[in-house]
């Protein structure tokens, strides 16, 4: 476990050096600040659109960050050749995968926390109100959604280079985020094989829509009950473990040839 934590720390150090997070945070703050200065027919005091847009941006930016950070780690080690010195240490490949995932996930969650704080601060400056309990629940579920996304990024990166892994991860998670919630509407008119395929996609892909509390936060529906929250957290954890196991299965017997990598 300690070895995994050490690897996670190295992921943190790399991300801090790359400054991606700062750029995204500045982008978010600039966009939200611009929104707050908008003249709304001479009216003041409306903040719901700010929190709505802010949360949408937080989901979008955290998604980009999660895929980029997670899909970059293993291919970068291989490209630089540092994978050999890493694997020469008394560390198992499972520990390497878990360490990389933990590092990527915690970095993205921290960035996400800063995004949420920025949204809360900007809404508070405009004298708006966001239900803190719903906001915290939304943040926690968002973090668990990011756990799945980073696990998917790691899983694809075990057998692909960074570009391919990032692209496939974006397509896979993007379809789950945007397309999956619409499948029940598309499938209404489908019959036979198409209906079966739609059903498989609907039940097989990760359901990020049930981890997305934006509507409840923005429109003041309040938090969900504890049992629902627990069920959703368990679902997200199971999916994360599933993708990490796939990553480990793909990586445990992978052969590295110095001449091919260097």
């Amino acid at each position: 476990m300690t070895k995994g934590l050490i690897i996670a720390v190295t992921v943190w150090l790399k991300v801090i050096r790359k400054k991606d997070v700062y750029v995204l945070l500045i982008l978010l703050s600039a966009l939200l600040s611009w929104l707050t200065t908008m003249n709304i027919f001479g009216l003041g005091g409306t903040t719901r659109y700010v929190s709505d847009t802010g949360l949408l941006l937080a989901w979008f930016l955290a998604w980009i960050l999660a895929v980029n950070v997670s899909a970059r780690e293993l291919p970068e080690e291989e490209n630089r050749g540092t994978i050999f010195s890493l694997l020469a240490k008394p560390i198992t490949r499972a520990e390497l995968i878990i360490g990389k995932w933990l590092g990527a996930w915690t970095v993205v969650c921290t960035a996400n926390a800063v995004f949420y704080l920025a949204i809360w601060a900007i809404v508070a400056v405009k004298s708006g109100y966001i239900d803190p309990s719903a906001m915290i629940q939304g943040f926690v579920l968002h973090c668990f959604a990011l756990a799945i996304i980073t696990a998917i990024g790691i899983a694809f990166s075990t057998r692909m280079n960074f570009d391919a892994a990032a692209t496939i991860s974006f397509v896979f998670t993007g379809a789950s985020l945007l397309l999956l919630p619409r499948i029940p509407e598309f499938a209404v008119k489908e019959k036979g094989l198409r209906a079966v395929v739609m059903s498989l996609i609907y039940h097989g892909l990760p359901h990020f829509d049930i981890l997305d509390m934006r509507q409840r936060i923005v429109h003041d529906y309040g938090p969900v009950d504890v049992s629902t929250m627990a069920a959703l957290v368990i679902y997200a954890m199971l999916l994360t473990v599933f993708f990490l196991v796939i990553a480990w299965l793909a990586y445990r017997k992978k052969l590295f040839s110095r001449s091919e990598l260097m």
Binding site: F41, L43, G45, I183, P184, E185, H203, H219, Y221, T228
Partner: protein, 280 residues
């Protein structure tokens, strides 16, 4: 490899030829280049999206409910818990929350008259800000000088304020501009003309211009011959020179009916107002 590149090159060349020819044809039809046409279409789509967003906000974040499958799925159950589906409306001061999206809709497309009208309606009714509603409609009029609907909305506002001369001016302008680009046979468009005529007739009646008022009432009957209360009013005006119900009272009733109808109108299908909450 060279073969694939050659095939791709031919495809790209053919596609660019088709696009160029179509763009020339479109340019000669609309007077706009392809890039401007795309930009215009993008602006309209963006404006429509913001308008839909305002509608979603009006329904407390609940999107249009469509027919779905997998209703018994566990994911569907969780989805419904996380995303409430009950039909609700914003009311009171909270209606202001739809304004940013209507503002964005009008900024994206200054010809989106419906967005202006909805904004002005709610500002004047629930928001109780007739001054801001006038500002919105003035902006709408500047951007859409030939639209009669804006004149009708402005006439209603002036009538609510008791500014009869201004209201008369707006009804006259509205009738001159009617039907604009709309289908004159559409029931909604005909209803708008009838409203303009009705307000004009009552204002004329109030000023004592009875023959002109009767003429305006008769024009309403030309559109909707089944309106017996108009027939009765014409008869009363012709026989006694005045109607039993004073024009000012009838105006008040008509304006409050319009207001109530506007508040209750909902773009969503299968909408039953006895079946849902109106949230504060």
């Amino acid at each position: 490899m060279a073969g694939i590149i050659a095939v791709l090159w031919i495809c790209v060349f053919t596609l660019s030829c088709v696009i160029y020819t179509n763009s020339l044809a479109e340019q000669s039809r609309t007077g706009r280049s392809l890039s401007k046409e795309l930009l215009y279409a993008g602006k309209i789509a963006l404006s429509a999206h913001f308008y839909d967003k305002a509608d979603t906000y009006f329904h407390k974040g609940v999107e249009h409910i469509k027919k779905r499958t997998f209703e018994n799925s566990i994911f569907s159950s969780f989805h419904d818990i996380i995303h409430p589906q009950k039909h609700r409306h914003l009311e009171g001061k909270s209606i202001d929350e739809i304004m940013p999206w209507l503002r964005m809709a009008t900024q994206a497309d200054s010809h989106h008259v419906e967005a202006y009208l909805v904004a002005a309606f709610w500002l004047a009714s629930e928001g109780n800000r007739i001054d801001l509603a006038h500002t919105v409609l003035t902006e709408a009029r500047i951007n859409n000088p030939n639209n009669y609907e804006i004149r009708l909305a402005q006439a209603r506002l002036y009538l609510r304020q008791g500014l009869e001369s201004e209201a008369m001016r707006e009804t006259e302008a509205g009738l001159r501009l009617w039907p604009g680009y709309n289908d004159p046979n559409s029931r909604d468009i005909k209803l708008d003309k009838a409203s303009l005529l009705f307000y004009q007739a009552l204002l004329l009646e109030k000023r004592g211009h009875i023959p002109e008022a009767i003429l305006a009432f008769r024009q309403i009957l030309d559109i909707f011959p089944e309106r017996t209360h108009i027939k009765n009013r014409i008869r009363e005006l012709e026989e006694y020179g005045q109607a039993s119900l004073l024009p000012s009272n009838l105006l008040d009733v008509s304006l409050s009916n319009d207001m109530a109808h506007g508040k209750k109108s909902c773009r969503r299908d299968g909408h039953n107002h006895h079946d849902h909450d109106h949230a504060e």
